[in-house]
């Protein structure tokens, strides 16, 4: 990657700034958004840095146009992203479905905040987890990463761009106010140590009539605009040539399945988890900032001689059911921790309940990550 884009070094950096630096390092060229707490710092930083490498951040009239412009830029061949919080995602959902339907690489950063509605802007919760997967209409698969530290805000943003480009799909970075506003050490490696991926495009000069630019489980090359591909890109049901079909149900079936299969077929290589449950009887399953409390509680438990462990989901979508099952087969008790009222819990329970006891430990106060002391108490209770 371009050295000008990567500010190699060791920093004390805010998570949101690290996210923007990750986007720079990943090769982001276009960003659009609308101001919102607690995501604004990402936009501010991109507005400063992107023009220096020939890109730009654009403040749009709303979040609907932000994601639309990002999708447009992506079809123009640019690596593109938007950043917002829950209210903005709610506005974006129709066009996120469009991005999925026409297979548009882009990164959507959601720095989650107290919700529903306007909620509490500076408080981080994990309230939009299922929205990311099911918010737009219709069946689809999505990729979502959950950073737990400023360092991961940097790293996961790079991964998000790589996944988006590789699988031609929107990728969510599901952070929250807690991680986004956290300041910690961030180490940015040298440019040549950062792996970046760029989407495949068809060979220049390919006959547009022969060009299969859509609906391939192995990811069709993207007939980006301006190259003479004469791409017909439509939000309507279409075939692998992009040709609209509004009458044949089997075309719809193919449209729905191929889009999902494209992600599911590559689930193993997409899935990222952190396993630390060797020999554990009680396993804490969590993601994002909550994982920090889980790790601390397990450390305490082990000191007390309890066989406890953790499974951290780095990618929450596509849902890593196999990883849950693998863990549950070994554990006696599974405790799910989230900073919400239990959004991913039902998914985990569905995979784990055949093999172990599964319970949910909500935060005492929604918006406040579980206290490691309380988690420890729960572990002790269960393992009695």
């Amino acid at each position: 990657m371009d050295e000008k884009r990567v500010c190699t070094g060791r920093y004390f950096m805010m998570g949101n700034v690290a996210c923007a630096e990750g986007a720079m390092a990943a090769g982001c060229e276009f960003a659009a958004g609308y101001p919102i707490t607690p995501a604004t710092e990402v936009a501010n930083h991109l507005a400063e840095k992107l023009p220096q490498v020939g890109g730009a951040f654009f403040q749009m009239e709303d979040e609907i146009s932000s994601i639309a412009a990002v999708i447009g830029a992506s079809w123009a061949g640019k690596k593109a992203m938007t950043v917002t919080s829950g209210p903005g995602i709610s506005l974006m959902l129709e066009n996120i479905g469009f991005a999925i339907g026409v297979e548009t690489p882009c990164v959507i950063v959601n720095v989650q905040r107290g919700a529903p509605s306007t909620g509490m802007p500076t408080i981080g919760i994990q309230g939009d987890m299922v929205q990311a997967k099911h918010g737009s209409h219709g069946d689809y698969e999505i990729i979502a990463l959950c950073p737990s530290s400023p360092q991961e805000m940097f790293e996961h943003t790079v991964i998000a761009f790589n996944y988006a480009e590789k699988y031609r799909t929107p990728v969510f970075l599901l952070s929250d106010a807690f991680v986004g506003h956290m300041r910690e050490e961030v180490v940015i490696p040298e440019a040549d140590k950062i792996k970046t991926i760029y989407r495949k495009i068809p060979e220049l000069g390919t006959d547009p009539l022969k060009l299969k630019g859509f609906l391939d489980e192995n990811v069709a090359p993207m007939p980006i605009f301006g190259k003479g591909f004469k791409a017909h890109v439509t939000s309507s049901c279409h075939d692998e040539y992009g040709k609209r079909n509004l009458i044949d149900i089997s075309a719809l079936d193919k449209f729905v399945r191929k889009l999902s299969d494209k992600i599911l077929k590559h689930k193993e290589e997409i899935t990222l988890v952190e396993r630390d449950y060797e020999g554990a009887e009680v396993v804490l399953v969590s993601y994002g900032g909550v994982s920090r409390a889980a790790a601390e509680a397990v450390l305490q438990a082990r000191k007390k001689g309890i066989a406890a462990g953790t499974l951290r989901l780095i990618t929450v979508w596509p849902f890593p059911g196999e990883e849950i099952e693998k863990m549950a087969r070994k554990a006696k008790h599974v405790i799910v921790l989230e900073n919400n009222l239990g959004q991913i819990y039902p998914y985990i329970k569905a995979e784990a309940a055949h093999f172990s006891e599964v319970s949910f430990l909500p935060p005492k106060l929604v918006g406040e990550i579980q206290d490691p002391e309380d988690i420890l108490k729960k572990i002790e209770e269960i393992s009695k």
Partner: protein, 286 residues
């Protein structure tokens, strides 16, 4: 002797066998007017990216035109076009959509991008109705008329002057024609394509199926006759009072001016940023 060949069939996507419009729909005339402008400027379809929203008018370029076409979501084509233009500054970006799409659900994108004066052509087929969904009242539907969602007659004031809105927002080129003026329309589209700035063309267009027949204006031919009778040039209109202009369609090139254009301003901003790149590398702060 070789057979006569239509000069614009070469612009049509080879997989398309016929247009998607009802018989006599004005959208087909708009489509041809666009193609004639492109031909007249000796341009190629590959010089363009077409963007449309949802509605009958959105089918003008999609899939008809043999070019890069992004057929987006209802109301949002201008917002998508913004990103395309910023990514492909050397291409001509043309949005073609309906009045409901561009002015009702998508009104703010129209206003804000006219204000930005970003170089793009926006062609609005204004048929005064939601054609595709079956003849519901649009903001452009005349007051009092019965539609499928206003069985007792529309009780909202009509949006009389879309072009006026776009002028007020700051577009550098605005014209209004009807489908009864295809030659003038083509001439304005040519100017719009060449304009460094936001160029908006409102085309009053007949929807004989959902508007004409249901509201008693008649079929396509009768609607064209009605447009002919009601149209008045902007030059003539300036001599008349508001009262005298009631019910008339003011046609012509309403605005053509030069002002800062956004893509150029962004390029300027980048130069500034690159000049100061050294000093701004510090990232340890928020």
């Amino acid at each position: 002797m070789s057979e006569l060949v239509h000069p614009y069939h070469r612009f049509i996507r080879p997989t398309v066998t016929h247009s998607s419009f009802c018989p006599g729909c004005g959208d087909g005339t708009i489509a041809q007017s666009i193609l004639r402008a492109i031909d007249g400027l000796d341009m190629d379809m590959d010089d363009f990216v077409f963007v449309s929203g949802i509605g009958c008018a959105a089918w003008i370029p999609s899939p008809l035109f043999n070019a890069d076409v992004l057929h987006t979501t209802h109301g949002r084509p201008i917002a998508f076009a913004f990103g395309i233009k910023m990514g492909l500054t050397e291409k001509k970006v043309m949005v073609v959509s309906g009045d409901g799409d561009l002015v009702a659900i998508g009104g703010n994108h129209l206003i804000q991008n006219a204000r930005r004066n970003i170089e793009m052509v926006v062609i609005c087929s204004n048929n005064g109705i939601y054609g595709m969904t079956g003849g519901q009242a649009a903001p452009t539907t005349p007051m009092g008329v019965k539609t499928t969602t206003t069985p007792y007659g529309t009780f909202e004031n009509v949006f009389e002057d879309i072009s006026g809105l776009v002028i007020a927002a700051g577009a550098s080129f605005v014209a209004r024609w009807t489908t009864g003026h295809p030659r003038q329309l083509t001439a304005s589209i040519k100017k719009a394509i060449q304009k460094k700035g936001f160029a908006f063309i409102e085309v009053i267009s007949q929807c004989p199926v959902q508007f004409g027949r249901k509201m008693g204006v008649g079929n396509a031919v009768q609607m064209l006759e009605d447009y002919k009778n009601r149209s008045i040039s902007i030059q003539e209109a300036k001599k008349l009072s508001k009262e005298e202009l009631k019910g008339r369609i003011v046609v012509g090139e309403l605005v053509d001016l030069d002002k800062p254009e956004m893509v150029e301003e962004v390029t300027r901003m980048r130069k500034k940023a690159m000049g100061g790149a050294e000093a701004a590398v510090d990232t340890g702060r928020s």
